[in-house]
Amino acid sequence: MRQFGYERPEYAADAVALAERPEVRYLAGGTNLVDLMKLGVETPDLLVDVSALPYEFVQEDLDGLVRIGAGVRNSDLAAHALIRSRYPVLAQAVLAGASGQLRNMATVGGNLLQRTRCVYFQDVSKPCNKRMPGSGCPARKGDHHNLAILGASDQCIATNPSDMAVALTALDAVVHVQDHAGPHEVPLAELYRLPGSDPQRETTLAPGALITAVDLPTLPFARRSRYRKARERASYSFAIGSVAAALDVEGDVVRDVRLAFGAVAPVPWRARTAEAALVGGPVNEEAFRAAAEAELAAAEPLRDNAYKVPLITNLVVRTLAELAAGS
């Protein structure tokens, strides 16, 4: 591990000033960053611990908008009464991730910016375009069992591993950022970038940008929302496919819907094609299946990850059917 310095500022402006150089990383729960430092994937020379910043809150403003501080621990977020009642999909997604111990450490900000689990990315002795631009992507021919079927590029087929981000994407969350230009807001859908020809750039954030909070717009029908996650053991493992959904039904017609997929794309995948197919349509399994298939028509499965196509289709049908039955 490279030798590094350590700072723990109390003000966001100090943190941002410290983090201007590319060799600096913010340290939140450390559950992803420290592992990557041990593997030599991350080699910061300075860690700026963000745990003293005043971002451990969950608040509701007068318009019903809910703001979550970037430092809120995953466990606290999942347990929060506002989240559980208004946005059950978010509480479920967070609880479906990692383990109790990890969730006690992990934060909202860190969870959003955790890195891919692609084995080549984590192995510094291998080429990887994301880690070493231009070195190649061994995953395409090699181990891609849990890599992307949607949104990938020739250069990179990694998946974003976060469960929480899938739910936030479905909920149209907005991220508060502070960088050298001052504070501003980015819709979550615009935070993550598809790999294209430069997979090393995963977000649209400026270097040294600090995430300070996440806003959840009022979305009354999100009270009926669900997260379903398939994984290879009953707990404590990453998704091989997941679905976040909220459904608003009027009579036997879909009035509105939010749908996002996890573990299938380089970003949490908002299924807008499927949403468009559903809205105004009937509330039945055929329609749900057709919508999922419409979204997945763009899928480009590889040798060992084609299973994700039926997996996601089946998850969508089940999740929407459950929400429909409950309404």
Partner: protein
């Protein structure tokens, strides 16, 4: 001798109870509360830290090693390469083919190349990174079947072994031929099956502390399975006589076979002798995956021929095991795989070829089940397939062919003692089935996908599967397998105390409890102290092959009997009549039950101490193929066989490929349950390890490199993946074994894997020929 501050006398915690009593393991609670001192907790104030530089390549020639920059690093005291190994530069359990530190070639990714000692582990790691190794990278040999070809490049250019001369990369080829395998049969089924590489996944990484001694020797505190086999290898490489290399067992955090080979033992001692300081070494989790052997991956081809009534006519099997870069215990593993390839069934005509290959993959060796696990998946898959082809119930087909007392093994060995294969199968079949999954309400924890909320019953089908398996207890093929025990009886502070000393490694299985139970029962004393295991007493053999209660238990029993005879002789010398007397409750008790004398009074200040070895009955090597006609690969190679059967009920989400095991029922003959609670614990734990292999546990090796060396990416079952188990324990008694016991630890791991897969096949109708089964195998996508 200086002793590290945290070296607690491992294994001395007092257990209670007599033979057959339910007794808690004394180390259980400290392990759960975090008070137990593991080998990674060892500490001495003036110690240095040792770190290993490992090869990043699976196959490369080492042109040169430049340690200059590393040695010049502040805080670094020593940097050693193969040139600094004073004794044998190679070591190994059976074949000394593994370099202590790479000499001219590296043969697997992670092979140790150099070692560094420094005042801080991070300093040592940074210094190791400064060592410049000039590698000429070669194409690795990573496919075991391709490695068999005579055209394949060789992993070991100069064969360092004599097992299969001229065989190229074939480390050993075991041929078994009996009867006439050219026969034809009414019904023939063939199948190809694969088993992935499983890890022992112990929680306590490789660690130890080596302390230089004033006599020029070294004291090593170490978590291991066999102190004396480590001692021999360390001494040979240090160029020291064995009595200058003294080992003491430190707290062991699990083993399962992975601690049978030397890991950091020689390295720590080399550094300690060079620096004249205590050296601590602890592997990280990632390093641990490279630091020990794994279960051999297997590819198997089977052909079964049977009559219409289901009687097996012949079985042909070819099993190819990937041994990786070095021999470890591979020659014995492939012998086992061949011996047990047919399963516990009668079949007069067999043709079995077991191959074990050198490749540039991580070395494989001992793991719970030792060769029987892989073939059990093969033969049980075949029995299900045969049952389907014949239209016979799969359990009835197995019972119809079941081995029994007096049956012949494929090796011609007569199965002696109880072989209750049919009864075990009947018991698991007749056990009540769990209730059907409720359709009106659901508990997520009871459904496939668990609390991930993937199903509320949609797409879920139930399947029931069965399997039976067996394996040998103790070391086989003519190995002189024995243990040594010293037992002392004396009066301390007015109380009678028995002290038991062996070199047997307690690795969590409960041996210290059993040893104390034996002494307490045999000598009729309450207070029994287990002395820490070390090499100041003769070898106990390995804590493996389900043998330690048999062998060390046998040695403790023999030493206790000798002590008892000594006490009775004392009594007799004082004119007491002790004809047929025993020791009970601190007294000499005559055959009619009358107390003759108090043992404490008799002993007074005297001490009775006896040391005994227990050698199990001899076994014989398999006859080798010498080109002679007739049956080959024959012989009474095994000491004792242990059998278990499993029934698994699984709920399978056939749309998502997720599994929830509803219940496991298992029956096993243990001969005699010395500690019934430990027996059940072993059966539950072993079954769970087999479930792991069936559903998720696999070291993924690509191009000779482990892709998932962490417990984030190498999945083992959590408690939510582990179903309720009905455990039926039979005690049929083996007349040849101490107390009639039969080894317990391994059988449950063997048959649980195929039983799980059998249940998945029943639920999905898919062939499922590879373990671990992944979601896409279940959904067929």
């Amino acid at each position: 001798m200086s002793v590290p501050t945290t070296q607690r006398p491992t294994g001395t915690e007092t257990a209670t109870g007599r033979l057959g009593d339910i007794t808690l393991l004394p180390d259980g609670i400290p392990k759960v509360t975090g008070d137990f001192a593991y080998s990674s907790d060892l500490w001495m104030d003036d110690m240095l830290w040792g770190v290993t530089l490992r090869s990043p390549h699976p196959r490369a020639r080492v042109r040169s090693i430049d340690i200059g920059a590393a040695l010049a690093t502040a805080g670094v005291t020593a940097v050693l390469t193969h040139e600094d190994v004073p004794g044998s530069k190679y070591y190994g359990l059976e074949i000394a083919d593994q370099p202590v530190l790479a000499v001219d070639e590296v043969r697997y990714t992670g092979e140790p190349v150099a070692i560094v000692a420094a005042d801080h582990p991070e300093t040592a790691r940074r210094a190791a990174a400064k060592i410049v190794v000039d590698y000429e990278v070669l194409d690795p040999i990573t496919d075991s079947r391709a490695a068999m070809s005579p055209d394949s490049p060789l992993v070991h250019a100069t064969p360092t072994q004599d097992h299969y001369p001229g065989g190229g990369n074939i480390l050993r080829h075991v041929r078994i031929r009996r009867g006439d395998p050219t026969l034809t049969a009414d019904v023939v089924v063939t199948g190809e099956y694969d088993v992935g590489m499983q890890d022992q996944a112990f929680l306590g990484p490789e660690s130890g502390l080596a302390v230089p001694a004033e006599d020029g020797g070294v004291d090593l505190f170490i978590a291991t399975q066999w102190l004396h086999v480590d001692q021999r290898q360390v001494a040979e490489s240090l160029g020291l006589p064995e009595d200058k290399v003294r080992l003491s067992l430190a707290g062991v955090g699990g083993a399962f076979g992975a601690r049978e080979d030397v890991s950091m033992q020689i390295h720590a001692c080399l550094l300690a002798l060079r620096t004249n300081k205590p050296i601590k070494m602890v592997y990280s989790r990632e390093e641990s995956f490279y630091g020990h052997v794994h279960r051999h991956p297997a590819t198997m081809r089977y052909e079964h021929g049977a009559n219409r009534d289901g009687t097996l006519v012949y079985v042909k099997c070819e099993v190819v095991l990937d041994g990786g870069a070095y021999a470890s215990s591979s020659p014995a593993v492939v012998s086992n795989a061949a011996s047990f390839a047919v399963g516990p069934y009668n079949c007069d005509n067999v043709l079995i070829d077991g191959y074990i290959l050198y490749t540039n993959n991580p070395p494989c060796g001992a793991m719970r089940g030792f060769g029987a696990v892989q073939v059990c998946f093969g033969h049980e898959s075949q029995m299900d397939k045969l049952a389907a082809a014949l239209g016979i119930d799969p359990v009835e087909l197995r019972i119809h062919n079941a081995m029994a007392e007096g049956s012949l093994m494929p090796t011609g060995q007569v199965v002696e003692g109880a072989a209750p294969v049919a009864e075990l199968l009947r018991r698991v079949k007749d056990a009540p089935l769990p209730a059907a999954a409720p359709t009106d309400s659901y508990d997520l924890r009871a459904l496939p996908g668990g609390v991930s909320n993937t199903t509320h019953g949609e797409g879920v089908r139930r399947g029931v599967g069965y399997a039976v398996g067996f394996k040998n207890v103790g070391y086989s093929e003519g190995f002189d397998d024995f243990s040594t025990a010293r037992v002392r009886l004396e009066v301390v502070g007015g109380e009678l105390v028995a002290t038991v000393h062996t070199a047997a490694a307690e690795v969590g299985q409960g041996l210290i409890t059993v040893m104390a139970q034996i002494a307490r029962t045999e000598l009729g004393v309450e207070q029994v102290i287990n002395q820490p295991a070390d090499t100041s007493i003769g070898t106990a053999g390995s804590t493996s092959a389900s043998r330690q209660t048999y062998c060390t238990g046998g040695a403790v029993q023999a030493a206790c009997e000798a002590v008892r005879d000594g006490i009775l002789a004392m009594a007799s010398a004082r004119g007491l009549s002790v004809e047929g007397a025993a020791l009970r409750d601190g007294k000499i008790v005559a055959a009619d039950g009358a107390a003759v004398a108090s043992v404490a009074d008799l002993l007074g200040e005297e001490i009775v101490e006896e040391t005994r070895e227990f050698h199990h009955r001899p076994t014989e090597p398999l006859t080798r193929d010498l080109g002679a006609p007739g049956d080959i690969g024959q012989g009474a190679a095994h000491l004792q066989f242990a059998f278990a059967a499993h029934r698994v009920v699984a709920d399978v989400d056939v749309e998502l490929g997720l599994v929830r095991l509803v219940e496991v029922t298992t029956a096993q003959d243990v001969g005699k349950a010395l500690n019934p609670l430990s027996v059940v614990g072993q059966i539950q734990g072993g079954t769970t390890q087999g479930i792991g292999l069936a559903l998720m546990e696999e070291i993924q090796v690509k191009d000779g490199k482990i892709r998932n060396p962490s417990f984030t990416d190498y999945l083992i079952p959590t408690i939510l993946d582990t179903p309720p188990m009905q455990v039926q324990v039979l005690e049929l008694g083996d007349p040849h074994a101490p107390y009639g016991l039969r080894g317990v630890g391994e059988p449950p791991t063997i048959s649980s894997t195929p039983a799980v897969v059998s249940a998945l096949r029943a639920a999905t109708g898919r062939p499922l020929t590879r373990v671990p089964v992944r979601p896409e195998h279940i959904t067929g996508t």
